[in-house]
């Protein structure tokens, strides 16, 4: 394959080569089935989370004692739980929780990771300190660290966001730092120095924009990771506290009722899998389009 590429491309002039690359990129974007599938799944998730509660005739904590543990039917599409609450409504509200936590953690970690990654790529001493800290944080397995932090902070949605932000920030910082280091070595950055540009300007105006695409790709994966971890924490009883619906909570109840109500395990499970799959596809698709080198091995 490498040989073939050599055979086919070495003769072209650089310009026509670049033009072709650009066209290839555009074509990849629209024809990236990964990206499109991921985007559709994610869109459906948004619809469920924000349109769903408006059309579902039951509230997420509205109890109907007479209709406890109903199997899926026309009146309760996904059935009811042990308090007679409508599962579809709870899952739709759970989607809101998952998306909110996911979004918050992604935004916080992206921002912190960007700042930490950029500055540690730029200042050597700072780099040593920050990277040792991130080494340390990353060597504590994520879920465990999250459990421990939740134990200290106490269960609440805000605390889940705080704990997961602590867990995932080093991850983003690493990605930003490594792409920033590459840019920093480029000649034009040195030229900027020579012209007397301030460090702040170089970092934010010239290095930062180049780290955005890997950052976005990584952030998509962090979003997925966050959804999984939040569900796991809630399932373990150390995440989102009980009356609020969250996919992990519903699964926790479902596990206790596994002999009576299969729907309480299957539907939230499918939701988590689908959203993670959607986000992973989105991330893979983005990476294929933005950063084709990273997937060289796959094709």
């Amino acid at each position: 394959m490498a040989l073939l590429k050599k055979e086919a491309s070495f003769t072209q002039e650089m310009r026509s080569f670049r033009q072709r690359q650009k066209k290839l990129l555009l074509r990849r974007f629209s024809s990236s089935s990964l990206f499109v599938t991921g985007a559709i799944i994610f869109f459906l998730l948004l619809v469920l989370a924000f349109i769903g509660p408006l059309v579902i005739p039951y509230g997420p904590v509205e109890m109907e004692v007479a209709n406890r543990l109903q199997a899926p039917s026309m009146s309760h599409l996904l059935g009811t739980d042990e308090f007679g609450r409508d599962l579809l409504s709870r899952i739709a509200h759970g989607a809101q929780v998952s998306l909110w936590v996911g979004l918050a953690v992604t935004v916080i970690t992206s921002f912190l990771g960007l700042v930490i990654g950029l500055y540690s790529s730029y200042y050597r001493v700072l780099d040593h300190v920050l990277m040792r800290i991130s080494d340390g944080l990353m060597s504590i397995p994520g879920v465990l660290l999250a459990i421990a932090l939740m134990a200290a902070l106490g269960p609440s949605t805000t605390n889940v966001i705080i704990a997961l932000s602590i867990v995932f920030t080093p991850n983003i910082a690493r990605v930003v730092r490594s792409s920033a280091l590459v840019i920093k070595e480029q000649t034009y950055i040195e030229a900027m120095h020579a012209q007397g540009a301030s460090s702040f300007r170089i970092i934010w105006k010239h290095i930062a924009p180049n780290t955005i695409s890997p950052l976005i790709v990584q952030a998509t994966f962090i979003f997925a990771e966050t959804i999984i971890t939040e569900a796991a924490l809630s399932f373990l009883g150390v995440g989102i506290p009980a009356p609020d619906p969250s996919w992990g909570n519903i699964l926790y109840d479902g596990k206790l009722l596994v002999f009576q109500a299969w729907w309480m395990v299957v539907f939230p499970g499918i939701m988590i899998v689908l959203s993670v799959l959607g986000l992973n596809l989105l991330g893979d698709g983005l990476r294929d389009v933005i950063d084709p080198h990273a997937t060289k091995g796959k094709k």
């Binding site: 134990a151 997925a224 699964l251 060289k296």
Partner: protein, 316 residues
Amino acid sequence: MFAYIIKRILSLIPVLFVVSVVIFSIIHITPGDPAAIILGQEATQEQIESLSEQLGLNEPIIEQYTNWVMGALTGDLGTSYFMRETVEEAIINHLGPTLSLAIFAEIFALIIAIPIGIIAAYRRGSWLDQSLMGISLLGMAVPSFILGLLLMLFVGVQLQWLPIGGYAPLSDGLFTHLKFLILPAISLGAIQAALVARMTRASMLEVLNSNYIKTARAKGVVERRVILKHAFRNAFLPILTVIGQSFGTLIVGAVVTETIFNIPGIGQLIINSVERRDYPVIQGVVLIVTFIYVFINLIVDLLYGVIDPRVRLDKK
């Protein structure tokens, strides 16, 4: 090689220092007085103070940290408030099932993943390759606790083939031991399998493009042997790294999986301790699991030297 080992071990010191500081801080980022929280609302002021004293919470923070680290280094992780045993005993009592589960899950994962990855690379582009990789993509999106619940529902509850929970130690016989571990191990190992299969395929494809593979073909080596002897050994290095890194993840995954299947491992220990706010146990478990995780990665790094002669001989 020796210098490399020493250097690699020394590089762990700052990592473990940060780890210890983070884990130590857990008890101190708790809003309010830890002793009061541990004892709950009905505790008297006297009880709170005596617990604070017992925990050493009244001493300066640096001293508390030093005491804790010195204790940890000598194998003393403190005492559980609720179980009448030391943290070390509690961990040792619960570590067996977790390790057993993690190892069994890893074995399951490797047995299916590596052949799948190799076959997919060998038949690259075929429908077989595409469907195997499609399944693995799906597999990576199914968190182990969800797969566990689904397996429990279908295989345990509906089909009633296997127990839906519980544990029997190896001393009850291998068969009984495995009977309880099959579902947990599959649910835990599936993601690992998907990951390793994809990694194996990618790594094999990269190696298959290299010149020495062309040389092997030019020598008249049959394709099977090219794949298994010439390519796989070279492709194995990155695979090994993934296995090493994710074995740590596997142990952590075991923590969650145990809770589903009621396996009395360190997962249950930590979850129960979180409910009781039994901080010394939480800290101890996180510390020990992190240590195992770091240690496994160290071993993987050093194993590199055994497999790749370039690492073995070069002074890195």
